[in-house]
Subunit: 205 residues, 2 copies
Protein backbone atom coordinates (compact mmCIF):
# COMPACT_ATOMS: atom_id res chain seq x y z
CA UNK A 1 0.00 0.00 0.00
CA UNK A 2 1.33 3.40 -0.99
CA UNK A 3 0.97 6.45 1.25
CA UNK A 4 1.45 9.96 -0.09
CA UNK A 5 2.26 12.89 2.18
CA UNK A 6 1.09 16.15 0.67
CA UNK A 7 0.03 19.68 1.47
CA UNK A 8 -2.54 21.64 -0.53
CA UNK A 9 -1.13 24.18 -2.97
CA UNK A 10 2.23 22.41 -3.26
CA UNK A 11 3.91 20.43 -6.01
CA UNK A 12 2.69 17.24 -4.31
CA UNK A 13 -0.47 17.70 -6.40
CA UNK A 14 1.38 16.27 -9.41
CA UNK A 15 2.17 12.96 -7.73
CA UNK A 16 -1.32 12.85 -6.21
CA UNK A 17 -2.92 13.14 -9.64
CA UNK A 18 -0.49 10.59 -11.13
CA UNK A 19 -1.37 8.03 -8.45
CA UNK A 20 -5.05 8.57 -9.18
CA UNK A 21 -4.56 8.34 -12.96
CA UNK A 22 -2.56 5.13 -12.48
CA UNK A 23 -5.42 3.46 -10.61
CA UNK A 24 -3.07 2.91 -7.66
CA UNK A 25 -4.30 1.85 -4.26
CA UNK A 26 -3.01 4.57 -1.96
CA UNK A 27 -3.79 6.79 0.95
CA UNK A 28 -3.02 10.49 1.09
CA UNK A 29 -2.08 12.22 4.32
CA UNK A 30 -2.23 15.99 4.52
CA UNK A 31 0.44 17.94 6.36
CA UNK A 32 -0.40 21.26 7.95
CA UNK A 33 2.22 23.72 6.74
CA UNK A 34 0.72 26.51 8.90
CA UNK A 35 1.76 24.65 12.03
CA UNK A 36 5.07 23.72 10.34
CA UNK A 37 4.20 20.02 10.51
CA UNK A 38 6.68 19.32 7.68
CA UNK A 39 9.47 20.08 10.16
CA UNK A 40 8.05 18.02 13.05
CA UNK A 41 10.32 15.22 14.36
CA UNK A 42 7.74 12.67 13.16
CA UNK A 43 7.79 13.92 9.58
CA UNK A 44 11.54 14.57 9.47
CA UNK A 45 11.97 10.86 10.27
CA UNK A 46 10.06 10.17 7.05
CA UNK A 47 11.67 12.90 4.95
CA UNK A 48 14.71 14.63 6.49
CA UNK A 49 14.39 17.40 3.90
CA UNK A 50 11.17 18.59 5.55
CA UNK A 51 9.38 18.91 2.22
CA UNK A 52 6.48 17.35 0.41
CA UNK A 53 5.76 15.12 -1.38
CA UNK A 54 6.97 11.90 0.19
CA UNK A 55 5.76 8.50 -0.91
CA UNK A 56 5.90 5.61 1.52
CA UNK A 57 6.21 2.27 -0.28
CA UNK A 58 6.73 -1.32 0.86
CA UNK A 59 10.41 -0.94 -0.07
CA UNK A 60 11.06 2.41 1.57
CA UNK A 61 10.37 6.11 1.17
CA UNK A 62 10.71 8.11 -2.02
CA UNK A 63 11.00 11.87 -2.42
CA UNK A 64 11.44 14.35 -5.31
CA UNK A 65 8.57 14.80 -7.74
CA UNK A 66 10.31 13.72 -10.99
CA UNK A 67 11.48 10.49 -9.34
CA UNK A 68 8.05 9.77 -7.87
CA UNK A 69 6.26 10.45 -11.15
CA UNK A 70 8.53 8.05 -13.05
CA UNK A 71 8.11 5.49 -10.25
CA UNK A 72 4.32 5.66 -10.58
CA UNK A 73 4.56 5.30 -14.37
CA UNK A 74 6.91 2.30 -14.09
CA UNK A 75 4.95 0.63 -11.27
CA UNK A 76 1.63 0.85 -13.11
CA UNK A 77 2.61 0.23 -16.73
CA UNK A 78 -0.95 -0.59 -17.78
CA UNK A 79 -1.84 3.09 -17.17
CA UNK A 80 0.61 4.08 -19.92
CA UNK A 81 1.74 7.27 -18.18
CA UNK A 82 5.21 7.30 -19.81
CA UNK A 83 6.92 5.79 -22.89
CA UNK A 84 8.64 3.08 -20.85
CA UNK A 85 10.06 1.10 -23.77
CA UNK A 86 11.69 4.03 -25.57
CA UNK A 87 14.76 5.49 -23.84
CA UNK A 88 14.77 8.67 -25.94
CA UNK A 89 11.06 9.40 -25.47
CA UNK A 90 11.35 8.62 -21.76
CA UNK A 91 14.30 11.04 -21.54
CA UNK A 92 12.17 13.75 -23.16
CA UNK A 93 9.55 13.20 -20.45
CA UNK A 94 12.22 13.37 -17.78
CA UNK A 95 13.84 16.46 -19.28
CA UNK A 96 10.51 18.28 -19.18
CA UNK A 97 9.87 17.29 -15.57
CA UNK A 98 13.43 18.15 -14.59
CA UNK A 99 13.01 21.63 -16.04
CA UNK A 100 9.81 22.13 -14.02
CA UNK A 101 11.56 20.93 -10.87
CA UNK A 102 14.88 22.73 -11.10
CA UNK A 103 13.96 25.92 -12.94
CA UNK A 104 10.22 26.68 -12.85
CA UNK A 105 9.49 25.58 -9.29
CA UNK A 106 12.69 27.30 -8.13
CA UNK A 107 11.66 30.54 -9.86
CA UNK A 108 8.29 30.43 -8.09
CA UNK A 109 9.85 29.61 -4.71
CA UNK A 110 11.65 32.96 -4.69
CA UNK A 111 8.32 34.63 -4.01
CA UNK A 112 7.81 33.29 -0.52
CA UNK A 113 10.94 31.36 0.38
CA UNK A 114 13.75 33.81 -0.28
CA UNK A 115 15.20 32.95 3.15
CA UNK A 116 16.48 29.73 1.59
CA UNK A 117 19.04 31.70 -0.43
CA UNK A 118 19.50 35.06 1.28
CA UNK A 119 19.29 36.71 4.69
CA UNK A 120 18.07 40.30 4.30
CA UNK A 121 14.46 41.44 4.07
CA UNK A 122 15.42 43.75 1.21
CA UNK A 123 16.69 40.76 -0.77
CA UNK A 124 13.46 38.85 -0.14
CA UNK A 125 11.46 41.80 -1.46
CA UNK A 126 13.74 42.09 -4.49
CA UNK A 127 13.35 38.38 -5.26
CA UNK A 128 9.59 38.58 -4.84
CA UNK A 129 9.36 41.49 -7.28
CA UNK A 130 11.15 39.49 -9.96
CA UNK A 131 8.92 36.40 -9.80
CA UNK A 132 6.34 37.61 -12.36
CA UNK A 133 9.18 38.17 -14.84
CA UNK A 134 10.95 34.84 -14.24
CA UNK A 135 7.75 32.80 -14.24
CA UNK A 136 6.58 34.54 -17.43
CA UNK A 137 9.93 33.72 -19.06
CA UNK A 138 9.73 30.06 -18.01
CA UNK A 139 6.18 29.67 -19.26
CA UNK A 140 6.94 31.52 -22.47
CA UNK A 141 9.61 28.89 -23.19
CA UNK A 142 7.14 26.13 -22.32
CA UNK A 143 4.49 27.68 -24.57
CA UNK A 144 6.86 28.17 -27.53
CA UNK A 145 9.23 25.22 -27.33
CA UNK A 146 8.09 22.50 -24.99
CA UNK A 147 4.31 21.95 -24.81
CA UNK A 148 3.52 20.03 -27.99
CA UNK A 149 -0.25 19.97 -27.47
CA UNK A 150 -2.83 18.94 -26.68
CA UNK A 151 -0.75 17.18 -24.01
CA UNK A 152 2.83 18.06 -23.13
CA UNK A 153 4.27 15.22 -25.20
CA UNK A 154 1.71 15.48 -27.99
CA UNK A 155 -1.22 13.14 -28.49
CA UNK A 156 -0.45 11.00 -25.45
CA UNK A 157 -1.11 11.95 -21.85
CA UNK A 158 1.98 11.38 -19.64
CA UNK A 159 3.37 12.16 -16.18
CA UNK A 160 4.41 15.55 -17.57
CA UNK A 161 0.79 16.68 -17.66
CA UNK A 162 -0.14 16.63 -13.97
CA UNK A 163 3.20 18.31 -13.19
CA UNK A 164 2.63 21.12 -15.70
CA UNK A 165 -0.95 21.51 -14.43
CA UNK A 166 0.37 21.85 -10.88
CA UNK A 167 2.87 24.58 -11.71
CA UNK A 168 0.63 26.44 -14.17
CA UNK A 169 -1.84 26.67 -11.29
CA UNK A 170 0.61 29.07 -9.62
CA UNK A 171 0.65 31.57 -12.50
CA UNK A 172 -2.26 33.69 -11.35
CA UNK A 173 -0.76 34.09 -7.85
CA UNK A 174 2.56 34.93 -9.48
CA UNK A 175 0.91 37.71 -11.53
CA UNK A 176 1.39 36.07 -14.91
CA UNK A 177 -1.59 36.49 -17.23
CA UNK A 178 -2.39 33.02 -18.57
CA UNK A 179 -4.26 34.64 -21.49
CA UNK A 180 -0.81 35.35 -22.95
CA UNK A 181 -0.15 31.59 -22.96
CA UNK A 182 -2.95 30.05 -25.05
CA UNK A 183 -1.51 26.52 -25.18
CA UNK A 184 -0.91 26.46 -21.43
CA UNK A 185 -4.42 27.83 -20.84
CA UNK A 186 -5.93 25.15 -23.09
CA UNK A 187 -3.90 22.51 -21.23
CA UNK A 188 -5.30 23.69 -17.89
CA UNK A 189 -8.88 23.43 -19.16
CA UNK A 190 -8.27 20.00 -20.63
CA UNK A 191 -6.71 18.76 -17.39
CA UNK A 192 -9.57 20.12 -15.26
CA UNK A 193 -12.00 17.95 -17.21
CA UNK A 194 -10.25 14.67 -16.32
CA UNK A 195 -12.03 12.59 -13.68
CA UNK A 196 -8.77 11.85 -11.82
CA UNK A 197 -7.97 15.56 -11.58
CA UNK A 198 -11.48 16.41 -10.35
CA UNK A 199 -11.28 13.67 -7.72
CA UNK A 200 -7.86 14.75 -6.40
CA UNK A 201 -8.74 18.46 -6.33
CA UNK A 202 -11.87 17.59 -4.35
CA UNK A 203 -9.89 15.40 -1.95
CA UNK A 204 -7.28 18.11 -1.36
CA UNK A 205 -9.79 20.92 -0.87
CA UNK B 1 26.63 9.25 -33.01
CA UNK B 2 26.11 11.26 -29.84
CA UNK B 3 27.43 14.80 -29.43
CA UNK B 4 27.73 16.45 -26.05
CA UNK B 5 27.92 20.21 -25.64
CA UNK B 6 29.69 21.15 -22.43
CA UNK B 7 31.70 23.87 -20.74
CA UNK B 8 34.47 23.22 -18.22
CA UNK B 9 33.50 23.68 -14.58
CA UNK B 10 29.80 23.11 -15.23
CA UNK B 11 27.40 20.30 -14.38
CA UNK B 12 27.95 18.94 -17.91
CA UNK B 13 30.89 17.04 -16.41
CA UNK B 14 28.45 14.49 -14.97
CA UNK B 15 27.04 13.53 -18.37
CA UNK B 16 30.51 13.61 -19.91
CA UNK B 17 31.79 11.07 -17.37
CA UNK B 18 28.66 8.93 -17.76
CA UNK B 19 29.13 8.74 -21.54
CA UNK B 20 32.74 7.69 -21.02
CA UNK B 21 31.82 5.10 -18.37
CA UNK B 22 29.14 3.72 -20.69
CA UNK B 23 31.65 3.13 -23.46
CA UNK B 24 29.55 5.31 -25.74
CA UNK B 25 30.81 6.55 -29.07
CA UNK B 26 30.47 10.32 -28.76
CA UNK B 27 32.08 13.64 -29.48
CA UNK B 28 32.30 16.48 -26.99
CA UNK B 29 32.12 20.11 -28.09
CA UNK B 30 33.25 22.80 -25.72
CA UNK B 31 31.34 26.07 -25.43
CA UNK B 32 33.15 29.24 -24.44
CA UNK B 33 31.12 30.78 -21.61
CA UNK B 34 33.47 33.80 -21.45
CA UNK B 35 32.32 34.89 -24.90
CA UNK B 36 28.73 33.93 -23.95
CA UNK B 37 28.67 31.27 -26.68
CA UNK B 38 25.82 29.50 -24.83
CA UNK B 39 23.58 32.40 -25.85
CA UNK B 40 24.70 32.57 -29.49
CA UNK B 41 21.95 32.09 -32.11
CA UNK B 42 23.68 28.86 -33.23
CA UNK B 43 23.58 27.32 -29.77
CA UNK B 44 20.12 28.63 -28.87
CA UNK B 45 18.86 26.72 -31.92
CA UNK B 46 20.20 23.58 -30.24
CA UNK B 47 19.13 24.45 -26.68
CA UNK B 48 16.80 27.44 -26.34
CA UNK B 49 17.54 27.52 -22.61
CA UNK B 50 21.11 28.67 -23.33
CA UNK B 51 22.57 26.20 -20.88
CA UNK B 52 24.79 23.16 -20.89
CA UNK B 53 24.75 20.22 -21.17
CA UNK B 54 22.93 19.36 -24.37
CA UNK B 55 23.13 15.96 -26.00
CA UNK B 56 22.51 15.65 -29.71
CA UNK B 57 21.19 12.20 -30.64
CA UNK B 58 19.91 10.61 -33.85
CA UNK B 59 16.38 11.17 -32.53
CA UNK B 60 16.77 14.75 -31.40
CA UNK B 61 18.30 16.86 -28.66
CA UNK B 62 18.16 16.16 -24.95
CA UNK B 63 18.78 18.57 -22.09
CA UNK B 64 18.72 18.46 -18.27
CA UNK B 65 21.33 16.40 -16.47
CA UNK B 66 19.07 13.88 -14.66
CA UNK B 67 17.28 13.06 -17.93
CA UNK B 68 20.55 12.70 -19.84
CA UNK B 69 22.12 10.49 -17.16
CA UNK B 70 19.14 8.13 -17.17
CA UNK B 71 19.18 8.14 -20.98
CA UNK B 72 22.84 7.08 -21.01
CA UNK B 73 22.13 4.33 -18.47
CA UNK B 74 19.15 3.04 -20.46
CA UNK B 75 20.89 3.30 -23.84
CA UNK B 76 23.98 1.37 -22.70
CA UNK B 77 22.50 -1.26 -20.38
CA UNK B 78 25.64 -3.43 -20.54
CA UNK B 79 27.45 -0.69 -18.58
CA UNK B 80 25.06 -1.26 -15.65
CA UNK B 81 24.95 2.40 -14.65
CA UNK B 82 21.47 2.20 -13.09
CA UNK B 83 19.14 -0.50 -11.71
CA UNK B 84 17.01 -0.58 -14.84
CA UNK B 85 14.84 -3.55 -13.91
CA UNK B 86 13.83 -2.33 -10.44
CA UNK B 87 11.42 0.62 -10.41
CA UNK B 88 12.00 1.41 -6.73
CA UNK B 89 15.80 1.29 -6.94
CA UNK B 90 15.69 3.34 -10.15
CA UNK B 91 13.49 5.89 -8.37
CA UNK B 92 16.06 6.16 -5.57
CA UNK B 93 18.71 6.93 -8.19
CA UNK B 94 16.47 9.53 -9.74
CA UNK B 95 15.52 11.07 -6.39
CA UNK B 96 19.19 11.56 -5.59
CA UNK B 97 19.91 13.15 -8.95
CA UNK B 98 16.79 15.30 -8.72
CA UNK B 99 17.94 16.61 -5.34
CA UNK B 100 21.34 17.53 -6.81
CA UNK B 101 19.67 19.27 -9.74
CA UNK B 102 16.90 21.19 -8.03
CA UNK B 103 18.41 21.93 -4.60
CA UNK B 104 22.22 21.58 -4.54
CA UNK B 105 22.99 23.05 -7.97
CA UNK B 106 20.46 25.82 -7.31
CA UNK B 107 22.09 26.63 -3.95
CA UNK B 108 25.48 26.90 -5.67
CA UNK B 109 24.12 29.01 -8.53
CA UNK B 110 23.22 31.80 -6.10
CA UNK B 111 26.93 32.58 -5.79
CA UNK B 112 27.41 33.89 -9.30
CA UNK B 113 24.01 33.94 -10.95
CA UNK B 114 21.86 35.89 -8.53
CA UNK B 115 20.60 37.97 -11.46
CA UNK B 116 18.41 35.03 -12.38
CA UNK B 117 16.23 35.66 -9.32
CA UNK B 118 16.80 39.26 -8.23
CA UNK B 119 17.74 42.67 -9.63
CA UNK B 120 19.79 44.59 -7.02
CA UNK B 121 23.54 44.30 -6.46
CA UNK B 122 22.91 44.20 -2.71
CA UNK B 123 20.74 41.11 -3.18
CA UNK B 124 23.42 39.41 -5.24
CA UNK B 125 25.96 40.06 -2.49
CA UNK B 126 23.53 38.78 0.15
CA UNK B 127 22.90 35.59 -1.84
CA UNK B 128 26.61 35.08 -2.39
CA UNK B 129 27.32 35.37 1.35
CA UNK B 130 24.82 32.63 2.12
CA UNK B 131 26.21 30.03 -0.31
CA UNK B 132 28.75 28.50 2.11
CA UNK B 133 25.90 27.92 4.58
CA UNK B 134 23.42 26.45 2.08
CA UNK B 135 26.01 24.26 0.36
CA UNK B 136 27.23 22.99 3.76
CA UNK B 137 23.64 22.17 4.73
CA UNK B 138 23.01 20.30 1.46
CA UNK B 139 26.20 18.29 1.75
CA UNK B 140 25.62 17.58 5.42
CA UNK B 141 22.32 15.96 4.44
CA UNK B 142 24.09 14.02 1.67
CA UNK B 143 26.80 12.89 4.10
CA UNK B 144 24.36 11.82 6.83
CA UNK B 145 21.36 10.51 4.93
CA UNK B 146 22.01 9.92 1.26
CA UNK B 147 25.53 8.72 0.38
CA UNK B 148 25.48 5.04 1.33
CA UNK B 149 29.15 4.42 0.54
CA UNK B 150 31.43 3.57 -1.00
CA UNK B 151 29.27 4.68 -3.93
CA UNK B 152 26.14 6.80 -3.62
CA UNK B 153 23.82 3.80 -3.89
CA UNK B 154 26.09 1.45 -1.92
CA UNK B 155 28.26 -1.24 -3.45
CA UNK B 156 27.28 -0.48 -7.04
CA UNK B 157 28.51 2.46 -9.10
CA UNK B 158 25.62 4.32 -10.78
CA UNK B 159 24.83 7.55 -12.63
CA UNK B 160 24.54 9.22 -9.21
CA UNK B 161 28.30 9.03 -8.75
CA UNK B 162 29.55 11.26 -11.56
CA UNK B 163 26.84 13.79 -10.66
CA UNK B 164 27.84 13.90 -7.00
CA UNK B 165 31.51 14.12 -8.02
CA UNK B 166 30.68 17.09 -10.24
CA UNK B 167 28.87 19.05 -7.52
CA UNK B 168 31.25 18.11 -4.70
CA UNK B 169 33.98 19.60 -6.89
CA UNK B 170 32.39 22.99 -6.24
CA UNK B 171 32.69 22.80 -2.44
CA UNK B 172 36.13 24.32 -2.15
CA UNK B 173 35.15 27.32 -4.29
CA UNK B 174 32.00 27.64 -2.19
CA UNK B 175 34.09 27.78 1.04
CA UNK B 176 32.85 24.46 2.42
CA UNK B 177 35.60 22.43 4.10
CA UNK B 178 35.38 18.93 2.65
CA UNK B 179 37.29 17.61 5.68
CA UNK B 180 34.01 17.96 7.59
CA UNK B 181 32.43 15.53 5.11
CA UNK B 182 34.52 12.34 5.30
CA UNK B 183 32.23 10.17 3.16
CA UNK B 184 32.02 12.82 0.45
CA UNK B 185 35.81 13.30 0.58
CA UNK B 186 36.35 9.54 0.26
CA UNK B 187 33.93 9.48 -2.67
CA UNK B 188 35.90 12.19 -4.46
CA UNK B 189 39.15 10.26 -4.06
CA UNK B 190 37.56 7.05 -5.25
CA UNK B 191 36.07 8.78 -8.29
CA UNK B 192 39.37 10.44 -9.20
CA UNK B 193 40.97 7.00 -9.53
CA UNK B 194 38.56 5.78 -12.19
CA UNK B 195 40.01 5.69 -15.72
CA UNK B 196 36.88 7.24 -17.23
CA UNK B 197 37.05 10.17 -14.83
CA UNK B 198 40.76 10.72 -15.51
CA UNK B 199 40.11 10.63 -19.25
CA UNK B 200 37.26 13.16 -19.12
CA UNK B 201 39.05 15.55 -16.77
CA UNK B 202 42.04 15.50 -19.12
CA UNK B 203 39.81 16.09 -22.15
CA UNK B 204 38.05 19.03 -20.46
CA UNK B 205 41.23 20.67 -19.17
Amino acid sequence: MLKLYYAPGTCALASHIALQEAGATYTAERLDFKSNQQNSPEYLAINPKGRVPSLVTDRGILTETPAMLAFVAQSFPQAKLAPLDDAFAFAQVQAFNSYLCSTVHVAHAHKGRGYRWASDEASFADMKRKVPETMAACFSLIERNMLKGPWVMGETYTICDPYLFTLSGWLEGDSVDIATLPKVADHRKRMAERPAVKKVLADES
